[in-house]
């Protein structure tokens, strides 16, 4: 036999269940559209991200043949001048350069990797310029694991040679400096070459600085900056982007 307490509980269930059901249905009616909207927005954002990633990878891939083309021209110059010993060393450096490969799918790479990659190019240029070229590179140790969009340093260095140092008579100075300030990584590439009449920041192929700007914007939006200043004493390019570290690498280090 059902007790009074049991009966009361059942009656309470009978009374409260419809109220709860109505609330549930009301909630569904009010929030279903909003939940759908949020879901669609989320999907839209993911699609946009995928598109940006695709654009970014495309830009990354565009710049590599451009860099190779310039390096090959350097080697060709050495061959034309019959500087065989330098040519051999240049080819050795070039083979090292080719041996080194970026992971194509990585949107950001450690700074140390970028420096190492650029170093091969600088080795080739050192052979060409000989003692005339003085390179000064500063990179604080903690920054070597910071992440950077690939080919940034390399493109700036390459531009310094192409638009400034190539035409420089006498000592060619290249100053590369990385530093950290307010959680932003700064890169300064300064040379004592002459820009001449070139006013555009983009190079002949439409890549170079323009490519860097686009990639920085795709990845960091307005938080990344690129400034170029050129005068009679040389050209200085300054790039800044937010400090990002690879979590996996950090964990491995810990």
């Amino acid at each position: 036999m059902l007790s009074y307490e049991g009966f009361t509980l059942i009656i309470m269930l009978f009374i409260l269940a419809p109220i709860m059901g109505a609330i549930a249905l009301l909630f569904l009616f009010i929030f279903e559209k909003r939940i759908d909207l949020l879901e669609n927005k989320n999907k839209e954002i993911r699609l946009e991200q995928a598109l940006q990633e695709a654009q970014y990878n495309k830009l990354n891939q565009q710049i590599q043949p451009h860099f190779l083309f310039n390096t090959l021209n350097v080697i060709l110059g050495l061959a034309r001048l019959n500087r065989t010993a330098e040519l051999i060393r240049a080819l050795e450096a070039f083979s090292q350069f080719l041996k080194f490969k970026y992971k194509a799918s990585e949107p950001l790479i450690p700074l140390s990797q970028e420096i190492q990659y650029t170093q091969h190019y600088l080795d080739i240029q050192t052979l060409r310029f000989g003692d005339r070229l003085k390179i000064d590179m500063e990179c604080p140790e903690p920054l070597s694991t910071a992440l950077v969009p690939p080919f940034i340093l390399q493109t700036l260095v390459e531009n310094s040679f192409k638009h400034g140092l190539e035409k420089k008579v006498g000592e060619a100075l290249l100053h590369i400096r990385f530093y950290l300030e307010s959680q932003m990584v700064y890169l300064e590439v300064a040379d004592n070459g002459l820009m001449g009449n070139e006013s555009s920041v983009t190079d002949d192929g439409g890549h170079g600085l323009d490519n860097i700007q686009k990639r920085l914007y795709l990845y960091f939006n307005d938080r990344a900056q690129l400034h170029i200043a050129s005068n009679e004493s040389g050209t200085k390019v300054e790039v800044s982007w937010p400090l990002v570290f690879d979590r996996k690498m950090e964990e491995a280090e810990e």
Binding site: I11, L13, L28
Partner: protein
């Protein structure tokens, strides 16, 4: 409000979401039977009989969500259950199930007609046929002529009025009377209702589950709604509908407890009269009447619309191809008048007990349960013996019905179709193995 295409007439202009899906399913499944049968099961099988009745329906709707998901994965586009059966069955099996579907749908319409007749007798002093005529005319106009757009337009209002009644009326009564006097009254006049382990409660629940599952899984309207709900929301819509549906029988049962605690009663109709005497406040009386009319008209309308859609799309179309959409809609309107008229006449001349009527068709639903599960969860076209097993089980159960109890015939029916299916499947497997062995050199 006139539909431009037949598809729009059947499915509405757009796919519906969870909210409207639940409203639509509640409009279909909160029926005249729910109002009258759930208190009746409480009276017959105790308080837990009422709760069991509610649970059976809720579980069945919840389980249908699994079937629904599977069906939409296998067959994403469709108008009616007929389209799905056509894709999954050979012609013989297809026509067998279509005939059963038409019969069961007519039966549901008849039950709603009976509920409407009870309500008309209770409300009006006029001859029965006058009230019933207005009821049928209204349903034919809004569901048969208006199509799904109008059905959903009314469904929102119908469900709101049902919710208002089931929330406010029991709350008002129990606050007014208190629980103690009700408990004392039930103990005095109907102590059998407080008995927890009634010997036939479990028989009722088990048979009810078989009937409930069969009825929910083989319902034209539920299948039609299944094809119009957004695919990713199918499962959640049906599950939540089950969960929300449960409150209606529970609330109606509590209403009837309020009526009978002060004395005895002769039958379910006398309880209805007792309720009218109890609800002295005009607002609550109007609310209750509105709720009852909403429940009956929404179910009748939804079932009538699904039945005419099935007949036009799956019975007449294969016979008369090249019909334009407008011709199909006109045919659907004409059919709704014919079916409505048929049920109107049947309701006027026949009046069995509602719960008996529900269980009278129990044999059919119980026999259909195993075949429909096999059809949904097997791959490719299924053999004809699957629908035939349902027919054999139905026939066998009606043959033995005079010699056994109602519940036993329901169990027998379900068990018979399952047994036939198992035997036929084993025989087919043996036959296939034998054929492979014979072809091997």
């Amino acid at each position: 409000m006139r539909s431009r295409t037949f598809q729009e007439y059947v499915q509405g202009p757009i796919q519906i979401g969870m909210g409207l899906g639940i409203i639509s399913l509640l409009a279909r499944w909160v029926t005249g039977t729910t109002i009258l049968s759930s208190p009746e099961s409480m009276v017959k099988y105790g308080v837990f009989g009422g709760i069991g009745y509610a649970l059976m329906g809720a579980i069945a709707l919840f389980m249908f969500s699994f079937i629904g998901k599977r069906v939409r994965q296998d067959f994403p586009e469709g108008l009616t259950i007929g389209d799905y059966l056509k894709a999954r069955l050979h012609p013989l099996g297809y026509w067998i199930l279509i005939v059963i579907l038409v019969i069961t749908s007519l039966h549901i319409l008849f039950i709603q007609g009976m509920a409407a007749s009870t309500l008309c007798q209770f409300l009006f002093d006029t001859p029965l046929y006058v009230g019933l005529f207005f009821f049928f005319a209204f349903c034919i106009l809004y569901a048969g002529f208006g199509g799904l757009k109008l059905i959903h337009g009314f469904a929102a209002f119908q469900v709101i009025s049902m919710f208002a009644a089931v929330i406010l009326i029991p709350l008002y009564f129990f606050v007014k009377e208190g629980i103690q006097p009700v408990y004392d009254g039930i103990r005095l006049y109907h102590p059998y209702m407080l008995v927890i382990n009634k010997y036939d409660l479990w028989s009722f629940l088990f048979a009810g589950l078989l009937v409930g599952f069969g009825q929910f899984f083989f319902d034209l309207t539920s299948w039609q709604r299944l094809f119009m709900i957004e695919m990713k929301k199918v499962r959640l819509t049906f599950s939540l509908s089950g969960l929300i549906w449960i409150i209606f029988p529970l609330s109606f049962s509590s209403l009837f407890i309020m009526v009978i605690f002060t004395g005895g009663f002769t039958d379910i109709h006398s309880i209805l009269a007792g309720l009218a005497n109890k609800i002295t406040t005009p607002f609550f009386f109007i609310l209750f009447v509105l709720c009852a009319i909403s429940a009956i008209t929404s179910t009748f309308g939804a079932c009538l619309h699904s039945l005419v859609s099935l007949i036009v799309a799956n019975i007449l179309e294969p016979l008369q191809t090249k019909k334009s959409d407008q011709q199909k809609i006109r045919m659907a309107c004409l059919l709704s008048i014919c079916i409505g008229g048929l049920v109107f006449v049947a309701t006027l001349f026949y009046s069995p007990n509602l719960l008996e009527l529900l269980f009278y068709s129990g044999n059919i639903y119980s026999a259909l349960l195993a075949p429909i599960l096999v059809i949904v969860f097997s791959k490719g076209k299924v053999a004809d013996y699957i629908p035939i097993s349902a027919v054999l089980a139905i026939v066998a159960s009606y043959i033995i019905q005079p010699h056994v109890s109602e519940f036993q015939s329901i169990w027998f029916s379900g068990l018979a179709s399952l047994t036939i299916l198992v035997i036929c499947t084993i025989l087919t497997l043996i036959k296939n193995k034998w054929r492979i062995l014979k072809t091997k050199p």
